[in-house]
Symmetry: C2
């Protein structure tokens, strides 16, 4: 049986999970694919700590070049994370004629152009199924299963930490910081959760999804990103009263001949399937022109879940290697109808808005007058009874409006003497 | 650019959709895959009716052998449906060294063993993505994306007609026959809907899913099949009151070292994601040991949706052909821990039961006494006020119990003088 040698760089959580699967499922996989996958070397700066897989000590190394320079290694699996030196390692592996598997969304979202070009020039491939939605085969589905489709939109819940926090806030009516602390205690949030709660991790993943669906490799600058740390329990509760859930959505959406690429908390109606995606789960909702509206759901993180995706990439590469054929990673065809990526000011959205006003006659008239001046049309309004404080929450849903108009209107409203806190505005989708 | 010739047998709904996509996306696909897909011949007994795609008349034929005997045709796409002569055409195509794409679940569920063996012996492939869930890439996901996984269970809503009927009954409280008529009027049910509402279509699809997940090619005899035509609006309404939806589920489930393969109406709790799958949509919920619990959702039917899957199979085969490499279709590895397929009598289920009793003292005591004799334990019971008739509905949820015990108990209960109608029993899952 043909043997394919792999080298793993990064022996942390996903790296050791990958090794574990490759060892424990060795003959199972060999029977399926007709290839024996052999872990030839594993590199990490820490090669002494105990992992939940036992490898022969002789294959452990602290020196990545022992993998990159080994002519018998066919596939380099980069699971160290971070941009440097992961990027240099991958480039070197490609130069040496190796194929690459990575789960590194931060790196890919920053350097995909360079890495994919290098792979293409060398006739090699970079696979990255684990970089979005862990074990959910969303990348393979977009690239292969839906190969004939053009896409209208992608809506993704792609950050489990944020989804856990928002789900908890919705279920227990707790505050953002309580939910965050709970997430940390349960291991669903890093001790420094900034990358997650600020929406940046979701933005990295969205860049990859956008590339696969629209053939456009946008940069982080093109993506509007808003996190969830300003979401209050009041807003979560009003959302429920109005029949909505708040979700952090990663959205790539065709609007006539332009593309919108954005990550932000979003009011989603309860009857939308994405609203039912709770806890740390991820789901990617895809609107395609032939196969229709599809959703792919599963755990968005986890050692074995991510490693399951890494192994599926390795398996695909073994078949490519056996055949001497590489499907080019650059096989996304740009949708030439898309002229440009929209700027945030040009987005049009429906909105939920919460004003914090003093309980005085005429406040609502003033607010709605200012909105009207900017052509903003109110879909529904609820004025709540005042709380212990003198502040009355006024909750509105407004019809589709230009971001620019709304922000101008809100900045005027927020300067009114009767408005006691900055107004909250959350986009409404679907 | 390498050209791959295909021949389509069956120029009906999906066949003409496939031709339409291949023509309209010809250069789009060629850019992606580096292969030009050429429709060389299309066979149907009717080659004169107008379709929504215009093909050169010279490629239309009434004679399948014009495709099967054409040495330039690399891929035969069988979309005629039915067992004969589709089976003979596929066997002949394989004998002639061609690869095959089919959407024919009825044929595959009956003859997969023979067809797959023939393909394997000839070093050729049969792909069948469109046979389950139309455009949802569930087969590719099970086979490739989740290649390293073993599976605990699959729960599928795989028949759009039944799901539409049950969703309508739930939304509008109409009767089964009203919902069925509506489904027919909207084109969601065939004029003879037996194959769908009796659960047979779902069983065909379940056989394929079971094969992919567990490596076991069961036959229709191994599958317990119960349709939905006996579901009453009363049961749908009680389900709602209890916090459940009734769905026709196709289930393949490992229970220690045995496999249960069954299709039946099922009470699913509202908080299960499958409960939110409404209308004609399909969803396959997969419980895997590495990637965790996943769900794949989308339209379960439709010309372009099914054709999208057919084209993805064709594309995969073009890559195989280019490389001269065939991933064997028989790559499912049997789960050797599975000793046998369980018989229906051995299943254990929780159950919803509705008794129709006379409003007399002591009825509930008699019923619960008989249940207790068979070791059946009641989880909850609600006795409803009697309707205009003298009949009182008694609604129970019971704990896990052997099918055999329950049926014996019910047959005794149904002979009681106080029981006026056959009791209704519906399995509860998850």
């Amino acid at each position: 049986m043909r043997k394919v040698n792999i080298g793993i760089i990064g022996f942390g959580n996903v790296g050791s999970g990958t090794a574990k699967i490759l060892l424990s499922r060795k003959s199972f996989l060999a029977q399926k694919i007709g290839v024996e996958i052999n872990i030839k070397k594993v590199c990490d700066k820490d090669i002494t700590s105990k992992r939940n897989v036992s490898l022969d000590k002789s294959i452990l190394t602290r020196d990545a070049s022992a993998i990159l320079n080994d002519p018998q290694i066919d596939i380099v699996v980069e699971l160290m994370g971070g941009v440097h030196p992961a990027k240099e390692f991958i480039l070197e592996a490609l130069k040496k004629g190796k194929n690459v598997v990575t789960a590194n969304k931060a790196l890919l979202s920053e350097c995909a152009q360079q890495l994919f070009r290098e792979a293409n020039d060398r006739g090699r491939n970079i696979y990255f199924e684990a970089s979005v939605g862990a074990g959910i085969p969303i990348i393979k589905s977009l690239r292969e299963g839906l190969v004939a489709n053009k896409f209208n939109a992608i809506f993704g819940i792609v950050n489990g930490t944020c989804n856990y926090i928002l789900s908890q806030m919705s279920a227990t009516h707790c505050s953002f910081s309580q939910a965050l602390n709970e997430a940390k205690a349960k291991g669903f949030a890093e001790s420094n959760p900034t990358l997650d709660i600020d929406g940046l991790d979701a933005a990295h993943k969205l860049i990859l999804l956008t590339y696969l669906a629209f053939g456009k490799l946008v940069t982080l600058k093109d993506v509007f990103v808003e996190g969830i740390s300003h979401i209050s329990s009041a807003d979560v509760n009003y959302a429920q009263e109005l029949g909505y859930q708040i979700k952090l959505l990663a959205i790539a959406k065709k609007e006539s001949d332009e593309l919108e690429v954005r990550v932000h908390p979003t009011f989603l109606p309860n009857n939308h399937l994405l609203s039912s995606v709770g806890g740390v789960f991820n789901a990617i909702y895809v609107s395609s022109d032939l196969a229709g509206d599809l959703m792919f759901y599963g755990p968005g993180a986890g050692q074995l879940s991510a490693a399951s995706a890494v192994v599926s990439d390795i398996v695909d590469l073994t078949q490519d290697i056996k055949a001497g054929l590489f499907r080019p990673t650059l096989n996304s065809v740009e949708d030439t109808l898309l002229k440009r990526v929209r700027k945030i000011d040009e987005f049009e959205s429906r909105y939920y808005i919460r004003f914090s006003a003093l309980d005085k006659p005429g406040v609502l008239a003033k607010i709605s007058g200012i909105l009207a001046k900017f052509g903003i049309s109110i879909a529904s309004v609820t004025q709540k009874e005042k709380q212990k404080t003198q502040i009355v929450p006024i909750v509105m849903l407004i019809h589709e409006t230009k971001e620019k108009d709304l922000h101008q209107a809100l900045s005027i409203i927020d300067r009114l003497a009767e408005i006691k806190e900055k107004s909250v505005a959350i986009r409404v989708e679907v």
